[in-house]
């Protein structure tokens, strides 16, 4: 509903609380509480905004609308002056009024065009040309940015698309031509709209509005369908489409048969418009192909003799002597570790590969010590907060989550670029320079070490490589027997097949094997059935508790209660979301059974039938690099509101020192985490892991291996031993992933794909 902002009650980084008057029902007043991220812009007094959300009756504030979205109705007439005074820095009401006096009702048109900056500058401050141009640019920017978003939201809402995030992204990419671009091809929204059915409905309506005769057979729809198949392929982790997959998926989307002319026409249109890139046996997804080729080119460049090496690494014989000196005398390096360390020191890109208990982290620590002794810098990164903590402790260095690294490098880039503006005022320069000192930096002397690299997807590796200047080095450590990344692409698995850059560690060391986990996981890695110990409650080792599949939920619950819940470092790793042993059912059970006595009687309602209380482990479901949050990050609820009407949580995430407040909007990207699918737990660890084993298509050696290696001390498998035995005979998930990344062959010429791509299973 539309409301006029009468007062700003609170204005903070997280959002605003406003006192508003309803436009449709004059005299009706209420409060609006809105997070910054659900608003398109910042409200000011006197503006008209459209808000959507839920009404709450707060004992303190009366009727309050908790906004789920809000956008400004762009002002018209003389109100534009007020808008510019509020939103164009340095302009003020006097100068804005000068603009109105000059152009009157044409003002909106004038300030919508950068070409008018010279004229606007003359009117704003004729006697101060330097200041005037900056103010004029600020006027155009304030108007265009907001007008593009608001007009687009209006346009989309009228056509049933109500997601502000989509409008914001489209407006940022297409600017003030967004509506025109969408009207001319609504299917360009494929990457952003989750459902093909909804997009297709929306797009057909728009095409009818613009006079399309047969929207169903329109080439825009055909190309849109190809884009949608590409999107689905990427969601499955592949970057290459097979002929069968493309034809069957297109037939489904276009409601046709696989051999139909419509499907042929769609494929031809897809190729013609670059929606798919033909290669032998299939097609590459063009966006992913670009990322893959960029990564391949960057990594290849690192192997060229001309790649700069500002940190002088001595020859191997000298390195070997230094290695002996670096190692802890009570824990000398094994010959295999020594030669691995030497190998990874030689190249600017290298992989350190091995299973659990082979001393990867210890070898890594020595490599880091050595590199720093030559004057280099080391930056350590891991997918999950807990993994970063473990890495930091094992190497005696700071380690960060990849989300934090990318977020800070992006912020650094933004600040450094802003500092190039000679017109920046001195306090801003000082503040920005100070901030730069605290941000992560990669320079030509940095060795970037990424742990658990087998789980790093293509876009994440691409983002990190983008920030690495010439001279910087990359060391990937991981285990290709683990599950492939959640996101699309497969880089590490391809790189470790290159012996030139890969050092393999295979010997399990005594001190690591005491828990039994390395020995059992080594057997699973080789698809052998291991020997399990008997389950006796809390004890280190790997045990198997047989049970019928129908009872699996009960048995898992009993075991979790015996060994303790998340507060005692226990996580359940399940193959599926559904079913009695699945994540959903177990989370619901454990949420109730592990409720602490101090927790209030009421729960906080999240989304997707999730309820939270104090002590519940929760998991983030979306990457948000700007806030340092990533998909799969685990935390624990520290406090909830006293009033059941309010909906927020305070969560302490792994690896962080203070809790974050998650508002209602954030709860959409949150889930309970007593039980987690193995994919989501990648990169994370827990002291004790309970693993239900029941028939599921995801169960394969890499799934079981990944689940077991998530545990630091104890693994309890629960279920059917026959199912486990069958799972070990299956091929690994990574072997089935179809990708276009080629190594060491380099970028494809467009004809051939590596064997992995088209062989499928």
């Amino acid at each position: 509903m539309f409301a006029c902002v009468e007062k700003l009650i609170a204005e903070r980084d997280w959002g605003v609380i406003l006192s508003v008057r309803a436009v449709e029902q004059p005299g009706e007043k209420y409060q609006v509480k809105a997070l910054t991220k659900v608003l398109l812009g910042r409200p000011s007094v006197g503006e008209t905004w459209y808000f959507e959300g839920e009404y709450l009756q707060s004992p303190r504030y009366g009727r309050q609308l908790v906004a789920q979205s809000g956008y400004r109705k762009m002002p018209t007439g003389k109100l534009i002056c007020r808008y510019l005074a509020e939103h164009a820095p340095g302009v003020g009401l006097d100068r804005a009024t000068r603009l109105w006096n000059k152009w009157n009702v044409n003002l909106a048109t004038i300030i919508s065009d950068e070409n008018n900056i010279p004229e606007i500058a003359r009117v704003l401050a004729p006697d101060r040309p330097n200041l005037a141009v900056r103010l004029a640019a600020a006027v155009v920017r304030a108007w265009k940015d907001s007008a593009a978003e608001s007009n687009l939201v209006d346009w989309l809402m009228q056509r049933g698309v109500e997601d502000l995030k989509i409008a914001r992204r489209v407006a940022r990419i297409l600017g003030d031509s967004a509506i025109q671009a969408l009207a001319s091809n609504p299917y360009i929204l494929v990457p952003l709209l989750p459902s093909w059915t909804k997009l297709d409905e929306f797009a057909r309506r728009v095409m009818q509005e613009t006079g399309a005769k047969a929207p169903g057979a329109d080439v825009r729809r055909l190309v849109g369908a190809v884009d949608a198949v590409v999107k689905g392929t990427l969601a499955d982790g592949d970057t290459v489409l097979t002929r069968e997959r493309l034809r069957s998926s297109l037939a489904k989307l276009l409601e046709s048969s696989e051999g139909s002319d419509t499907v042929d026409a769609a494929i031809a249109a897809g190729e013609r418009n670059g929606a798919i890139l033909p290669v032998s046996g299939g097609w590459r997804a063009p966006g992913a192909a670009l990322l893959e080729d960029n990564v391949a080119a960057k990594l290849r460049r690192m192997l060229e003799p001309s790649y700069p090496s500002p940190v002088g690494v001595p020859p191997p014989d000298q390195l070997a002597r230094l290695l002996d000196r670096m190692a802890n005398p009570s824990r000398p390096l094994h010959e295999e570790q020594k030669s691995a360390a030497l190998k990874v020191m030689v190249h600017a890109i290298a992989c350190l590969q091995g299973g659990a208990g082979v001393g990867k982290t210890y070898t890594l620590k020595i490599v880091c010590d050595l590199y720093e002794s030559f004057g280099g810098r080391v930056l350590l990164g891991a997918l999950a907060g807990k993994a970063a903590l473990r890495l930091a402790r094992a190497t005696d260095r700071d380690a960060f989550t990849l989300a934090r690294i990318i977020g800070q490098l992006a912020e650094r880039e933004r600040i450094e670029s802003a500092l190039h503006d000679p017109g920046l005022d001195a306090p801003t320069v000082a503040r920005s320079s100070e901030r730069l000192k605290s941000l992560i930096k990669i320079d030509d002397r940095t060795l970037v070490v990424l742990d658990e690299a087998s789980m790093i997807d293509l876009p994440t590796l691409h983002a990190i490589l983008r920030y690495m200047p010439e001279g910087a080095r990359l060391l990937l450590t991981g285990d290709a027997a683990q599950l492939p990344p959640i996101g699309f692409g497969l880089i590490y698995h391809a790189l470790v097949s290159d012996p030139q850059i890969t050092a393999n560690l295979t010997v399990i060391h005594r001190q690591a094997s005491e828990s039994g986990i390395p020995t059992v996981s080594a057997a699973i890695r080789e698809r052998r059935m291991p020997l399990f110990t008997d389950y006796q409650g809390v004890a280190d080792g790997v045990s198997f508790v047989p049970c019928e599949s129908g009872l699996i939920g009960d048995v898992v619950e009993r075991i979790v209660l015996q060994v303790g819940g998340y507060s005692n470092g226990v996580l359940v790793v399940s193959p599926t979301k559904k079913g009695p042993g699945g994540v959903d059912a177990l989370n619901a059970r454990l949420h109730e059974r592990l409720r602490p006595s101090c927790a209030p009687a009421h729960d906080i309602k999240g989304f997707n039938a999730q309820y939270y209380t104090i002590g519940d482990p929760v998991m983030c479901l979306r990457n948000d690099y700007s806030r340092g949050l990533f998909n799969g990050q685990i935390g624990q609820v520290q406090s909830i509101p006293d009033s059941p009407g309010e909906r927020w949580l305070e969560v302490l995430f792994d690896g962080e020192s203070s809790p974050r407040t998650l508002q209602l909007e954030d709860l959409m990207d949150l889930t309970l985490a007593h039980a987690i699918t193995c994919h989501k737990l990648q990169g994370s660890q827990a002291a004790r892991v309970v693993v239900p084993i029941y028939e599921s298509r995801v169960l394969d050696p890499s799934w079981v291996y990944t689940a077991i290696t998530r545990a630091e001390r104890q693994v309890i498998l629960v279920g059917d031993l026959t199912v486990l035995s069958l799972a070990l005979r299956r091929s690994r998930t990574a072997e089935n992933r179809r990708v276009g990344f080629a190594w060491p062959l380099g970028i494809h010429g467009g004809e051939n794909l590596p064997a992995r791509c088209c062989s499928g299973s």
Partner: protein, 153 residues
Amino acid sequence: MPARSIIPEILAKLEPYLELLDQQWESQAEGCRTPTLPQDKGQVNVRAITKAVGLRQSQEQHFFKKPELALAINELARIQGLRGINSRELQDAGDRVHAARMQKVERHNTDLSRSLAEREAVIERQRREIDALRAQLALLEETGMTIRTSGVR
């Protein structure tokens, strides 16, 4: 046919005369030079100059009315420490030169302001393009896809 200007004719006589006086000034020992221009209590004597260059007394007025002539004498007067010819016309002429110079500077400033503003417009457009490309890159790194910006064929 326009009337012939008297200035070149007078200048033809005046300049060699002033050149001679300047040489005489220069030939004196530094620090104890006395002015060589005709003078009366430190003020240039225009009548004496008129006579010295062979002009009629009635032509004396030109030195007051024609800045080109007065400026040539005043330059040497300034060097020799004398007060130069001062007249309303000469002041007006000076004002005009100054005003013209001001106008030129102002024109130059306006040109600079204009080009500065035009450059700002280009920067603003490029900033918008960079923002759009960054947003596409972010979308690419998140979804593996970008928003199609060209038409389909």
